[in-house]
Amino acid sequence: MSNGDYIPPRQSALGQFFDSVFLLALVFAALFAPIYLGLAGGGKTELAIADKTTWTGLGQNPVMQAAWEKLGYTPETAAPLIVSRFDYSFDLIALGVTALVVIGYFLLVVAFSKSEYREVIAERFGRKTD
């Protein structure tokens, strides 16, 4: 039946191959770029602790001390874990830009989808006549 339905072209094997490669390259670029550029992960800071050689100096009570020792740590090896803190300070502008990008992305996708969806419905159920 020819009723104005869209007939897609048949994609050649080479075209299929190129599309797969393109998508794969894009995936790897997006996922490995932050890792290779060293931009991944948040910043860290350290607590200022004067005495890093004793459990009490590190602020550990006897129960904690026993637990650390059970896990095979000494005050020296545990200290880097105990004093390390994530740095949650952030830039409001960066936050704003990120929020805009996420929201903008969804708006764009929904808008494009809507125009494509109308076509789908029109073909499936017939065009509205009014």
């Binding site: 994609q11 770029a33 991944a40 129960v63 896990l71 992305y105 969804f106 494009f112």
Partner: protein, 469 residues
């Protein structure tokens, strides 16, 4: 070789062989590993109390996800799961994006599982303490076991869905029972082993730590929504999918709370926040060889079950997209003998291997969480549009979720908070990911969509949607 000729009009499809137990195993199997590793990074993000709050807030988020998803999927039962939902409710480009979210979330989760398994084998190898002739300690490498995990499970998936998910049902059940046994072994009714009073230190980062902890709090449950990927292989999807998903989320809420309770009562939060295998560490505290062996097996099984389910789900999503020609149609093939999307399974193997081989664990987990998060954001407006286009009563629903649109709104708010949490630690990845989906969307809209049949994409026997369409 004339047996190769096909009868005109002959078709092959995936097999409908699964019951509700398999759905539970697929959902819980993917997620339970989150209890064995990964969730504890949320302890590092905000302290042990923050991790518990995050666990319950994320539990609320996922209850919303499960409710919404159960309703939509009890009507849109097709192999792509949320992909097929997006195609019928929002539109093709959204569907393409959702399909990619799924493939990313599951392939990255699969890589994370393989990394953990390799690490565990290596650790146990170290504990066995083998030395060479000169007395130097020998090191067991993790890479061969990482690759073997992925290869073996891909092979299992290739060979048929029934065997794959029955295998999952068994090992998931064992991993779950291991957590319960450990819970009773630490005698939570006495204060002998667990020392919450002494170990809990309040909120080291104050309340911002609680929000930051949400990032990895998702890990307690991530992937439960994967149950609906099996829609075309379940015997009665309208009943089995909601049942399997809801019992799954309950199982996970119980397991997550028990896990937190055990670990937070045994280990200082600074250690717990960076441990790779926290439950196995908890067993080491008990000085009991059988418990250690049990939790070792539990960890191995949970990573296997998860990676196994991930291969299943990622390949179904990839396959469904190819069937609609959103991706090269070559991937839309079904194996005539095993009735699995075999080309999609094979294609995703090297992707998973590369990530498991080269990327650090927390990064891989973050990619997975971000993809999941984008998918949950989609669900919020998806269900609202679903109810608008097909109000209750216009089509048959296997399950109707209560209090609409409250779950959708709660989900949206929680997603917003989680984006903020990811932004705090991994803002660059978030942007890189958005850039990727942005480019991929343009590519799809202006190039790829040309090969897609328009009306054929709408395969559900529904009436025309209400509204201006």
């Amino acid at each position: 070789m004339s047996q190769t000729t096909t009868i005109h009009g002959e078709k092959i499809s995936l097999l409908r062989v699964l019951g509700p137990g398999h759905v539970w195993a697929l959902g819980v199997g993917i997620v339970l590993v989150g209890e064995y590793m990964g969730w504890n990074f949320s302890v590092g993000k905000g302290g042990a109390i923050a991790a518990l709050i995050a666990c319950w807030v994320a539990g609320l988020l996922y209850t919303c996800v499960a409710m919404i998803d159960s309703e939509v999927t009890s009507t849109v039962a097709a192999a792509g799961g949320q992909y097929a939902q997006a195609k019928h409710i929002v539109g093709p480009l959204m569907a393409f994006n959702v399909g990619l979210f799924l493939v990313f979330a599951y392939t990255m989760l699969e890589a994370a599982n393989a990394i953990t398994l390799g690490y565990l084998v290596q650790t146990v190898g170290g504990m066995a303490g083998m030395t060479d002739a000169a007395g130097e300690a020998l090191v067991l490498h993790d890479k061969p076991f990482i690759v073997l995990t992925i290869m073996f499970l891909a092979w299992l998936n290739y060979r048929g869905v029934y065997a794959t998910l029955t295998f999952n049902l068994v090992i998931t059940a064992i991993a779950f029972i291991a957590i319960i046994i450990l819970f009773f072994a630490v005698k939570p009714w006495t204060g002998e082993v667990l020392k919450h009073n002494e170990l809990l230190t309040g909120l080291p980062y104050d309340w911002i730590g609680v929000i930051a902890a949400l990032h990895f709090g998702l890990w307690y449950y991530l992937g439960i929504e994967g149950t609906c990927q099996a829609a075309e292989e379940v015997r009665s999807p309208a009943r089995s999918l909601p049942l399997g998903t809801m019992t799954g989320i309950m199982t996970l809420l119980i397991a997550a709370t028990m896990t937190w309770y055990i670990c937070a009562g045994l280990m200082p939060w600074e250690y717990l926040g960076q441990a790779v295998t926290p439950l196995f560490d908890a067993a080491r505290f008990m000085d009991s060889m059988p418990l250690m062996v049990l939790l070792f097996i539990g960890t191995i099984f949970s990573t296997l079950a998860s990676a196994n389910g991930c291969i299943n789900d990622a390949s179904r999503a990839w396959f469904s997209m190819a069937r609609d020609r959103y991706l090269p149609q070559w991937f839309g093939a079904v194996h005539p003998k095993y009735r699995t999307p075999y080309r999609a399974i094979v294609f995703l193997v090297p992707v998973a291997v590369l990530f498991a081989y080269y990327a650090p664990l927390d990064q891989v987990i973050t990619f997975s969480i971000l993809s999941g998060l984008l998918g949950y954001t989609f669900m919020t407006f998806n269900v609202i549009m679903f109810r608008r286009k097909w109000p209750l009563g216009t089509i048959q629903r296997g399950y109707v979720h209560p209090m609409h649109p409250l779950p959708a709104l709660v989900l949206l708010v929680l997603c917003g908070a989680t984006y903020f949490a990811v932004f705090l630690g991994y803002g660059t990845q978030l942007m890189a990911m958005m850039l990727f989906f942005f480019i991929a969307s343009l590519w799809f809209h202006f190039h790829r969509y040309r090969y897609v049949r328009r009306g054929d994409q709408f395969s559900m026997p529904w009436p025309r949607p209400q509204g201006d369409y």
